[in-house]
């Protein structure tokens, strides 16, 4: 175990060529090294050996699915999952003394890395109006303060309740219940910033907002597309599934502006060939696409498929599927046939021949899967792009069959489950009706605020209170300066957190830190030891049970914090504190918050009556492997208004990049989890010692008159006159696509204009930032 750092790391930037393969022995070494820096060998052993096992701890990292029970490795985790779980299991502690030594103004100057490395929060803290220090506060007083602020708002809609994808199903359900019983649908979540475009496009075209693919489909597929996705760093266990698919003969097409190591070759550290051999190549074909060119790519491919059908009628398209299950084909076909090859090649940076080779791969493949992540969703025309992928899949009937389908790969362990539980500002009436039937109050029907609109409302003073269930909203959100100003304008900000992050340092007038149990920790309530449930990216709902002793005896679980707050707040809203039948009133409209806190099974009972598909939840989720929620598409049902899947006509011009400018994407490093960097290194990309770098194609550097090692400011260009600047970045020549650049998130979120969002989904367009590089120091 290492002590927590007192100073910021100050290593110089060291650049080496990017790696051509992912994982292998170094992944094991780095995972164990970081784990043992954070915690003891015993605790690391407990977390790692129970992680992703039946009855164990669900990895709080990404949402990749686990193999079926009986098919899991003894070590069923990846390097990043191991780091993530032991980052939480750390033995470092943030105490009241720490906050005495570090005023908020000092903490606000610290890096994300330094803040995270201080360790686990151990006691509730408050920063009072006009003060510069957090000071201890008892739980009771904290709830009283928060509840008083909530009940003194002019309207429930002046409060916002944000959720991160770490929150369990039970905590998420309780939060949305509390928010709605309180009277608002202001329930933004991190989904708004990662896969909102996927959910919107899939729901619109297929009638269901979730992916259609399960792990076994990947194993059975003939051709897998990995589009805008970096599995080597962000979902490393996906590489094992891809390895299996390859061994069965599948081909893989990777589409990315960056030739990421994990797209090229995988050395599985649990296989001999991965330890002492060369591993297995992943991508058979790598399309070095320009940022934002994916819509044009799939339109070009679709046009080629239509033309192939013209040449060989009946041989190419799945006419039976199209006729029986879809509508809008003719209009779509007319639209795509008119797509110009000049536009496609300009937008993609690819040649027609490259796209024709992919068409040939498609024609040779009976079963095709398209996987994607934020490389697709964080563009202004992300929704049309994903709709075009659905068009592509439907042309050859690649939906509803084994080995085929749409696979949005979600990045946070329960981001999908939280939405299933009703964390959405626009929940349909069917859900709200079920809530009303179950709990006897009338939930608000007006749509609430998503993340971007919540920032706007805070900035305009329409929202005065921000409560966050996990997460680091300030750093995850776009337009950092605007977001921080908005947060500072709130009357009160409160965070239910395990570790310190920048959101605690960008405070409203009053700020609360409500420290909570991590997923690794035993959760003992009045009703005994509890487990929670989560849903992975492939709609499998299963349990997670913590094994470690809590970081502090003062910690409360997320469920306990929310139930106690609800009890206090909603009780206060009843004049006499008594229910109509003379019983002691226990929360709003008879919601048994105390029972929920004592036994999470009572929450799951209610979930089973409110959320479709989770009937008999307690019994079914306790089975090994849990519950697999069916996807209607795989049952032959397309729950759109027409009862059919929809072909769509899509348009989205390639972003205009003025001369002398580049198109910038934000990205995570390999040694990072969402907003939290574990070190300043990015091993696979060959970057060490500094995160303030911008990766640019060498040819573009020459054209711009720049060279590697020069220091520049990144200045983004938007339709308003606001200057957004990220200063002091070092230029690194890198094989990114021509005209494109990449820099780390969240440091460059400052460049993403709040109004630069995906059409329809309102998701920040963090992969589509027009920037100029301003040289520093002559």
């Amino acid at each position: 175990m290492h002590k927590r750092p007192d100073d910021e790391p100050k290593d110089p930037l060291h650049v080496t060529p990017p790696r051509r393969w992912a994982a292998g022995v170094p992944a094991v070494v780095h995972a164990l090294t970081y784990s043992l820096e954070q915690t003891s060998p015993r605790r690391a052993g407990v977390t790692l050996l129970t992680m992703n096992q039946v009855g164990g701890i669900d990895c709080p990292g990404c949402a990749w699915a686990d193999p079926a029970p009986g098919h899991r490795h003894r070590n069923e985790y990846c390097e990043n999952g191991a780091k993530h779980i032991n980052d939480e299991a750390t033995t470092r502690r943030v105490t009241a003394d720490f906050f005495r030594r570090h005023p908020v103004s000092d903490l606000a100057r610290r890096s994300d890395l330094w803040l995270n490395q201080q360790g686990r929060l151990t006691a509730p803290m408050v920063k009072r109006e006009g003060r510069d220090h957090y000071e201890p506060i008892g739980w009771d007083d904290a709830f009283e303060l928060l509840s008083r602020e909530l009940t003194s708002l002019g309207s429930p809609d002046e409060a916002v309740f944000y959720t991160s994808g770490r929150a369990s199903n039970e905590a998420a359900f309780v939060l949305q219940l509390f928010a709605r019983a309180f009277g608002t649908n202001n329930l933004p979540d991190c989904s708004n910033m990662c896969h909102e475009s996927s959910g919107y496009a899939l729901h619109e075209t297929l009638g269901t907002g979730k992916g259609t693919v399960r792990l076994h489909d990947l194993h059975q597929s003939d051709l897998i597309f990995l589009v805008g996705q970096n599995p080597g760093s962000n979902h490393p266990r996906q590489l094992s599934a891809l390895e299996q698919a390859k061994r069965r003969g599948a081909r893989i097409v990777a589409v990315n502006p960056l030739p990421e190591a994990g797209l090229l070759r995988f050395k599985n550290p649990q296989e001999v060939n991965g330890v002492i051999g060369r591993g297995i190549p992943i991508a058979d074909r790598f399309l070095h696409i320009r940022l934002g060119g994916d819509l044009a790519l799939f339109q070009g491919l679709n046009r080629l498929l239509l033309e192939a059908e013209d040449a060989r009628p009946g041989d190419v398209l799945d006419q039976d599927f199209i006729r029986a299950n879809t509508s809008g084909f003719e209009e779509f076909a007319r639209h795509v046939r008119a797509v110009s090859w000049d536009d496609v090649t300009a937008a993609t940076g690819l040649t027609r021949t490259e796209i024709e080779r992919v068409r040939d791969d498609v024609l040779r493949s009976e079963r095709v899967i398209v996987c994607w992540a934020m490389g697709l969703t964080q563009h202004r025309h992300a929704v049309p792009t994903i709709r075009e992928i659905v068009n592509f899949l439907m042309l050859r009937g690649n939906l509803g069959r084994a080995g085929a389908g749409a696979c949005p790969v979600r990045g946070h362990s329960n981001v999908q489950g939280d939405r299933t539980m009703g964390i959405w500002e626009q929940m349909p009436d069917s859900f709200l009706d079920a809530l009303q039937r179950e709990f006897g109050f009338d939930p608000p029907r007006a749509h609430g605020l998503d993340s971007v609109n919540a920032i706007r409302a805070m900035r305009e003073g329409r929202v005065k209170l921000f409560l966050s269930l996990a997460g680091n909203f300030v750093r995850a959100a776009p337009d950092s300066a605007v977001t921080e100003e908005a947060m500072r304008g709130c009357r009160l900000t409160a965070h239910i957190s395990t570790k310190l992050n920048r959101s605690h340092t960008v405070c409203g007038g009053t700020a609360l830190i409500l420290p909570t149990l991590g997923r690794t920790e035993r959760d003992v309530q009045a009703g005994g030891e509890q487990f929670v449930t989560v849903e992975n990216s492939m709609s499998e709902v299963h349990t997670s049970r913590g094994r470690l002793e809590p970081a502090s005896p003062l910690l409360l679980s997320e469920v306990a914090i929310l139930c106690r707050l609800a009890c206090r707040t909603l009780d206060d809203r009843t004049p006499d504190g008594r229910a109509p039948d003379g019983q002691a009133f226990d929360g709003s409209a008879g919601i048994p918050w105390r029972e929920f806190e004592a036994d999470y099974g009572a929450i799951r009972d209610r979930i089973s009556r409110v959320v479709p598909g989770l009937h008999d939840f307690n019994r079914r989720v306790a089975r090994p492997g849990g519950i697999s929620l069916p996807n209607p598409v795989n049952e032959g049902v397309f729950p759109t208004a027409q009862g059919k899947a929809l072909f769509t006509r899509n348009a989205g011009p390639a972003p205009h990049v003025p001369e002398g400018h580049l198109l910038l994407q934000t990205m995570r490093s390999h040694d990072q989890w969402n907003t939290v960097p574990y070190t300043a290194d990015d091993r696979y990309r060959g970057i060490r010692g500094s995160r303030k770098v911008v990766l640019v194609n060498p040819a573009d550097l020459r054209e711009l008159g720049l060279s590697g090692g020069q220091r520049v400011d990144l200045v983004s260009v938007w339709t308003d006159d606001v200057e957004r600047r990220a200063g002091g970045f070092e230029v690194v020549p890198y094989p990114t696509a021509r005209g494109c650049a990449a820099a780390y998130y969240p440091e460059t979120n400052v460049l993403v204009p709040l109004d630069s969002v995906a059409e329809f989904s309102n998701q920040p367009a963090s992969k589509e930032i027009v920037v100029r590089l301003e040289r520093l120091g002559g």
Partner: protein, 166 residues
């Protein structure tokens, strides 16, 4: 082939309840229905266990099912046909074609063992459904080319959250 003294609809309906197979088939230890077209089977003799997934390629109510196994190891394709007789009973015919892959090719497979086991298990099925007299459930959907054909009205399994997931 066996002849079962129960109407074809009842026999077919019972056959679609794959999870119930371990109740009457001695080699089938466990079946999970992943989705209408995909089932996961654990079969075994004594301490030996083998697990595989099967994909139903064609399914026509009261008529037939065609499936293929998925995954590594020995693969097989199979079909079961249900035919009503004039006397109101049902004939059930099962055909399985096994193609060994990989190392399994090297293991000798005694001729007739599979068909003997199959015949015995079919007789168990006959005893089971004749004993019950009525099916324990039914799935009346249709599968063609590995895909469920559109069902009207929506089957209960489809009553799941369909709102957008971010």
């Amino acid at each position: 082939m066996v002849e079962i003294a129960v109407p074809v609809r009842t026999v077919y309906n019972q056959w679609t309840q794959f999870k119930s197979f371990p109740r009457f088939m001695t080699v089938v230890k466990r079946v999970d229905q992943v989705r209408p077209t995909i089932t996961r089977w654990v079969i075994g003799f004594g301490p030996v266990r083998r697990e595989f997934e099967a994909e139903i390629l064609e399914q026509q109510p009261d008529s037939h099912l065609i499936w293929r196994s998925l995954g590594r190891g020995p693969s097989h394709q199979g079909g079961v046909w249900f035919r009503p007789t004039m006397s109101g009973t049902t004939t059930v015919t099962v055909r399985i074609r096994i193609a060994a892959r990989g190392r399994a090719r090297l293991v000798p497979r005694p001729a007739g063992v599979t068909s003997r086991v199959l015949g015995r298990e079919l007789r168990h099925f006959k005893e089971f459904i004749e004993g019950l007299g009525q099916e324990g459930g039914a799935w009346r959907g249709e599968i063609r080319d590995g895909r469920v054909l559109q069902a009207e009205p929506d089957p209960p399994r489809c009553r799941v959250p369909t709102w957008p997931v971010g």
